[in-house]
């Protein structure tokens, strides 16, 4: 439909007023007051209520005023008022309309093209008859059609002009498009592809809704939205989408995002069943685990066999192992940013699983449709019930149970304000020996208020979180030393994040945060009547960590993109407390204390601070090949005390103080990223070098619990790590999955002038988690729509151990003389898992979709040594090898979705 309007006249002035009227009502009034007829489509007019009055005003002025905030243009022509949505009605023909085109920009389609019949066509921007611009910025919002939740990470591709972008965490995107018709292809795994034609007339906004894909099998869940890995400036970031986890073979039927994370290059654990992750040669306390912005101190259940977040309550996981965004701090090596599942604003839905160890259920439901919705999820073991019903006496007294629960509340207050609250609790209880019971719990609360400022260029996020991690040991034996021990850490953080989308070239993120730590390092109390254990309580520790940060996403040109961030953090260790002062260059011990300082409440004991640089750049060598480089500096003021080679739930956290310095790290990374579009294959190669300072270690046999002068047992040394990581992913097709390989090394150096404070003569030695070769294959093959097989294969160099280099007799008993630390290795590790997945039928009307997973863990029955150790038996030394799951472990899990 083409409209040509030649002249318009403002006729008589009008006096009119209306209260709380919709535009449509106003138009009716105007039609009555004047002789004009209005032409428009009802759907263009919104329901906003307007209260206004005009006295003796020309019609055009009234229309101008009324429509200024809408996408509607108007044209007054004779006694008709023609309203048009988005397109401006040209009152004269464009230059060269009948002749040759002067413009050099290729217009995608006729500018005048305005096919209202085409439902799939959207028009964007008001046509401005003064505009000579040939390119406009299209910004938009992508929502899930069902839940109306924003979709993150979707690719928006405009094939014709080879442009693309992705949606951010709020589902928003922005892209520069040539004037005229453009075809947007929106793609994201788990959703149906969306094709939208957009007629671009000017800068504008579009809202898109994407339907979820009917549940399909065999989706690759390792998500990096199309070309993201090539386009983003961030180095070393991994996104894991929980949805696809279900097809990966698992041990004992538990889906586990963190386990999957370890199949990616650069993320390791010391061994099966050891809690704690080592990212790029970092210690296991150097990872910041966040669940909806709240720190999780122990992200695993049952000694690391399961991750503490119910997979059905998890929405996404992003791992930053090189470039850590400036808003995060306090840990050296990585950020694991876990987001809980977004609630469903439209309808009730749920998911669950029944496995051999646990049952879990997660539901999403709207409370007020399109306004308030919640997610609630829970998971628990039934092992205790089984244990008690057993005849075996030794097992009846055993404990092995855990549970976790999460509630998330989302409230869309209005267009510009949303509020989110999350509560999470997990608890573990188990006994390893007959006389002691361990328990630990995480409690998290997180509140977040998002606000978008009127002009849409500024956004803010106010976050308040609290975390409490506790553990306890109950010891009950036939003696006078029964006790109860507990440890507690509590942290509260307030954070203000601001975003300023300055321009296409500069996008700023900045903010401030402050965090209060309160640590109860240990309390012991006697239990029973005869216990002579004296209640003892180690002085509480208190600290305040504050930071201010800014980062700029600076687009120099199409090829070069910088992400430059700067963070200044400051930590103050606060009283009340006492601190020992030691003689310089003497071993820290009772005899070298020169003074004991006492501090009053909130008095600063010692403060540390520093600048943390977070810089990275991306350079596009070709549209599908990029080079990225980054430099990252991090500081850490809280340390995990663990005298074990692997992390254990009884490890305690300690704040920096007078005698314990903060840890720091510098990491340099360089990477190449290549996408092969036609085959959906992504390849990346990253290298890094990392230096660490003041890494915590301990004297051999250190007493870390209930020690009032803990600093006497601590050593602080240097660390260095380097490596090359290779990842190839195939994201689609019947066969999909990835192969990761890394060659990486991690070393520590504990050098001192004092022999007792030195390890391996002060030379670099391999860290406990130094595993040079690490290969993983995760593959999934879809046989039919309902059946698929999947497999994991893992190979790793055996971890270093300290091996005996001789025996000796001491106190009538044989003892072992150990080598220098970590001079030997346990045999290499490898494991093959196979899973078979059967999907229930895809009938739409079915009450629940079901899904069976049958998997066999360690098919080869490889007896992978977890540790080799030496123990004294009747005065003779014997060597033992421990392995976990040395036999194939089959499991069946039933999953359902409604």
């Amino acid at each position: 439909m083409l409209l040509f309007v030649f002249f318009s006249y403002a006729q008589d002035n009008i006096t009119i007023s209306f209260t709380n009227s919709s535009l449509k009502e106003i138009i009716t009034q105007l039609e009555n007051k004047t002789s004009h007829s209005f032409y428009y489509m009802d759907s263009w007019l919104d329901e906003n209520k307007i209260t206004k009055s005009y006295t003796n005003t020309p019609l055009t002025t009234i229309l101008e005023d009324l429509l200024k905030d809408s996408s509607i243009n108007y044209t007054v022509f004779e006694n008709k008022v023609i309203l048009t949505n988005n397109s401006f009605v040209y009152t004269e023909l464009p230059e060269g309309f009948f002749g040759e085109q002067k413009t050099t920009v290729s217009e995608n389609e006729a500018v005048f093209y305005n096919e209202y019949e085409n439902n799939n066509l959207a028009t964007v921007g008001k046509q401005n008859n003064n505009s000579k611009a040939q390119e406009f910025t299209l910004s938009g919002l992508l929502l899930n059609e069902n839940t109306r939740a924003p979709i993150q990470g979707a690719a928006i591709i405009i094939d014709k002009i080879s442009k693309n972008t992705t949606t951010d965490a709020k589902g928003k995107f922005s892209i520069i498009l040539p004037i005229g018709k453009n075809v947007l292809n929106v793609r994201l795994l788990g959703y149906q592809n969306l094709v939208k034609e957009v007629l671009v007339y000017g800068d504008g906004f579009i809202k898109l809704a994407m339907p979820e894909a009917a549940e399909t099998l065999g989706e690759v869940f390792l998500e990096s939205a199309a070309n993201n890995n090539v386009k983003e400036a961030v180095v070393g970031v991994t996104k894991i989408d929980i949805e696809g986890l279900k097809t990966i073979p698992v041990v004992l039927g538990e889906r586990d995002i963190l386990k999957v994370a370890t199949t990616l290059p650069g993320i390791k654990t010391a061994g099966e069943g050891s809690a704690g992750f080592n990212v790029r040669g970092g210690r296991s306390d150097q990872n910041l685990f966040l669940l909806d912005d709240a720190v999780m101190y122990n992200p695993s259940h049952f000694l690391g066999f399961f991750s503490a977040v119910n997979p059905f309550a998890t929405g996404s996981l992003e791992i930053y192992k090189a470039t850590i965004p400036a808003e995060y701090g306090g840990r050296l090596s990585s950020v694991f940013d876990i987001k809980s599942k977004e609630p469903n604003y439209k309808e009730f839905s749920g998911e669950g699983a029944i496995g051999p160890i646990t049952g879990s259920l997660s539901i999403q439901t709207p409370i007020v449709k399109d306004k308030i919705a919640i997610t609630a999820a829970g998971r628990a073991t039934y092992s205790n019930w089984i244990l008690r019903s057993l005849d075996e006496e030794t097992l009846q007294n055993s404990e092995a149970s855990f549970y976790d629960g999460l509630i998330k509340y989302n409230h869309k207050i209005n267009e510009n304000n949303t509020f989110q609250a999350t509560g999470y609790y997990s608890k573990d209880k188990f006994s390893i020996t007959s006389d002691s019971t361990f328990n630990y719990s995480n409690a998290l609360a997180s509140l977040k208020w998002n606000h978008t400022f009127k002009n849409d260029k500024h956004k803010s996020e106010v976050i308040a979180v609290n975390t409490q991690y506790k553990y306890g040991v109950d010891y009950e034996a036939e003696s006078n030393n029964n006790f109860k021990f507990d440890f507690k850490i509590n942290e509260t953080q307030l954070k203000l994040n601001l975003k300023y989308l300055h321009s296409d070239t500069h996008k700023f993120d900045y903010g401030v945060s402050t965090k209060l730590y309160q640590v109860e390092p240990g309390n012991i109390d006697p239990t029973g009547n005869i216990s002579i254990i004296v209640p003892k309580s180690i002085n509480k520790e208190k600290g305040l960590e504050s930071a201010i940060y800014i980062s700029d996403l600076y687009k120099v040109n199409e090829k070069l993109l910088f992400n430059v961030g700067l963070r200044y953090s400051r930590f103050a260790s606060l009283g009340p407390g006492t601190q020992n002062v030691y003689e310089d260059n003497r071993p820290k011990g009772e005899s070298t204390i020169t003074a004991v300082n006492t501090y009053s409440d909130n008095e600063t004991i010692k403060s540390y601070g520093g600048l943390e640089y977070r810089a990275s750049l991306r350079y596009l060598l070709s549209p599908s090949l990029s080079l990225k480089a980054s430099y990252n500096k991090t500081l850490q003021y809280i340390h995990l005390l663990s005298n074990n080679t692997t992390i254990s739930p009884t490890d305690t956290w300690k704040l920096s103080d007078l005698n314990t310095k903060p840890q720091s790290a510098n990491q340099y990374s360089l990477g190449f990223y290549k996408n092969f579009d036609d085959t959906d294959i992504e390849v990346s190669l990253e290298g890094y070098y990392k230096q660490m300072h003041d890494i915590l270690d301990y004297k051999i046999g250190a007493e870390l619990i209930l020690n009032e002068s803990l600093e006497q047992e601590l050593l602080q040394g240097e660390g260095k790590a380097y490596g090359v990581e290779f990842l190839i992913k195939k994201k689609k097709g019947a066969l999909n999955g990835w192969i990761g390989y890394s060659y990486s090394r991690a070393f520590l150096k504990l050098k001192s002038d004092i022999p007792q404070e030195q390890v391996n003569n002060g030379d670099y030695f391999p860290a406990n988690y130094d595993k040079p070769h690490d290969f993983s294959l995760v593959a999934n093959y879809r046989i039919t729509k309902r059946y698929s097989v999947s497999t994991n294969f893992i190979y790793q160099t055996g971890r270093p151990i300290t091996y005996p280099i001789g025996k000796y007799t001491f106190a009538g008993s044989e003892q072992v003389l150990y080598s220098d630390r970590n001079q030997f290795r346990i045999p290499d590790y490898y494991r093959l898992d196979i899973g078979f997945n059967i999907e229930g039928s895809h009938k739409l009307k079915k009450l629940a979709h079901s899904f069976w997973n049958i998997s066999v863990y360690n098919v080869l029955g490889r007896n992978n040594p977890y540790s080799v150790y030496f123990a004294n038996n009747e005065g003779k030394i014997r060597a033992y090898k421990t392995s976990i799951f040395s036999i194939p472990v089959p499991t069946i899990t039933y999953n359902f979705k409604f």
Binding site: P356, V534, N644, G701, I805, Y808, T809, S867, V868, I877
Partner: protein
């Protein structure tokens, strides 16, 4: 229901016993010969002892002694105490002496290859007494416990190491006053005579003494009072044969200083492994003896100056109201249903007349072989030509112990 339970049990057992621990062969991958010093100078007047040895291969079982070293203890008053090796390889002081309070002592070692070692100076620890040494039976664990009380409020002693020496009486269950010998042997035992001769020495009652193995320590550091209370120095299983007749234990309590206590504790902890899933970081621990030539050289061990106190206790199974434990070896006579085949090789009834045939053993041959063996079986009884002979373990305690009654023994 049954099936479900089985299924549950299966996974549970994997979960609870997810780890599989197996013993593997000890193999030395690389070896370092290191000097090991065990030196405890005490305040007990007498010949003082220092033990020197070296590390040995993991596959070996014999301690390597460090021989012919020059060993002396120097005190801060200028005194020098020289040591010389005895025939067991232990270095014994040339004169009797004891450690005195407020004097610093150090140990000096020069090995035959000329390497010099020196301990840090150390002084006598606070003096403490064992106030009470007593025995109790714990029916839950079915253990007989030897417990120590020691009150140290005034002395300030906080760290203790214990050694014990246990002596127990052995009475063999199958004793005869006669020995059996063979004579008139024809054709390697085809025929022979059995002669009974009276035993010349008593082999019925013996006394064995064993020293404690390993490091036994306690501290009152974490307790309210400086009180060692009911500390179990030794626990003996209810079926332990040592309690069968009469048992004596000598408990020595050494007071340690914090550094020595920690050193022994770490050595001890490195030798045990309580939780396999979270093994302690092993490594080399610095003691207080250093090489003067090369400060990177490893030296194992500790020189400490400890106050010592000791106490002896006698008891047997009746004192703790438990039934008599079985003998050290299985000596009971057992046979098959036909009463022909001996079921326990330690106690045989052999019929001289039985010379074998289809499915019938040649007991005459067996009798001859056992009576003429290197460690011959002992005669116990006979019923005509059916001889009851028993292994020396059941009839002659000198085969594994000694008949000499210790001086301190009180029956």
């Amino acid at each position: 229901m049954k099936a479900t339970l089985k299924y549950g049990t299966f996974f549970l057992s994997i979960l609870l016993f997810y780890n599989c621990t197996e013993e593997i062969e000890l193999e030395t991958e690389s070896f370092e010969s290191v000097l090991v010093v065990e030196g405890t100078l005490t305040n007990e007047f007498g010949f003082q002892k220092i033990k020197l040895s070296r590390t040995y291969f993991l596959e070996e079982n014999e301690q390597n002694l460090e021989n012919n070293a020059t060993v002396k203890i120097l005190d801060s008053n200028g005194g020098v105490f020289n040591f010389a090796q005895n025939n067991e390889g232990i270095y014994i002081s040339n004169i009797e002496f004891k450690a005195l309070a407020d004097v610093f002592y150090s140990l000096s070692i020069t090995t035959t290859d000329g390497k010099q070692y020196m301990s840090l100076e150390t002084e006598l620890t606070p003096i403490s007494q064992i106030d009470n040494l007593y025995v109790e039976y714990n029916s839950t664990d079915e253990q007989t416990l030897v417990l120590v009380d020691s009150e140290n409020q005034s002395s300030g002693a906080q760290y203790f190491r214990y050694e014990y020496e246990e002596t127990y009486k052995i009475v063999v269950p199958y004793y005869s006053l006669f020995n059996a010998t063979v004579s008139n042997v024809v054709n390697n035992g085809e025929t022979f005579d059995v002669e009974l001769t009276p035993k010349l020495e008593d082999q019925r009652t013996c006394y064995s003494t064993k020293s404690s193995i390993g490091i036994i320590q306690t501290s009152t550091n974490s307790l309210g009072q400086d009180l060692v209370y009911r500390f179990p120095v030794r626990s003996i299983d209810k079926d332990d044969s040592k309690l069968r007749e009469r048992y004596s234990i000598l408990v020595k309590q050494y007071v340690q200083n914090l550094e020595a206590y920690n050193y022994y504790k770490i050595i001890h902890e490195l030798g045990i492994n309580e939780s396999i899933l979270s093994a302690n970081q092993p490594g080399y621990v610095n003691g207080n003896v250093e090489s003067l030539d090369n400060n990177k050289e490893k030296v194992i061990g500790y020189f400490e100056v400890s106050s010592v106190s000791s106490e002896r206790l006698f008891f047997n199974h009746m004192d703790v109201n438990i039934s008599k434990p079985p003998y050290f070896y299985d000596c009971e006579y057992r046979t098959d249903a036909a009463q022909i085949i001996n079921a326990n090789r330690n106690n045989l009834k052999l019929n001289y007349a039985l010379i074998g045939g289809p499915q019938i053993p040649n007991q005459r041959q067996d009798l001859y072989r056992e009576l003429t063996a290197n460690e011959p079986y002992k005669y116990y009884d006979n019923n005509g030509v059916i001889y009851n002979i028993v292994s020396p373990l059941c009839s002659d305690c000198t085969s594994f112990s000694s008949t000499i009654q210790p001086d301190f023994w009180i029956d």
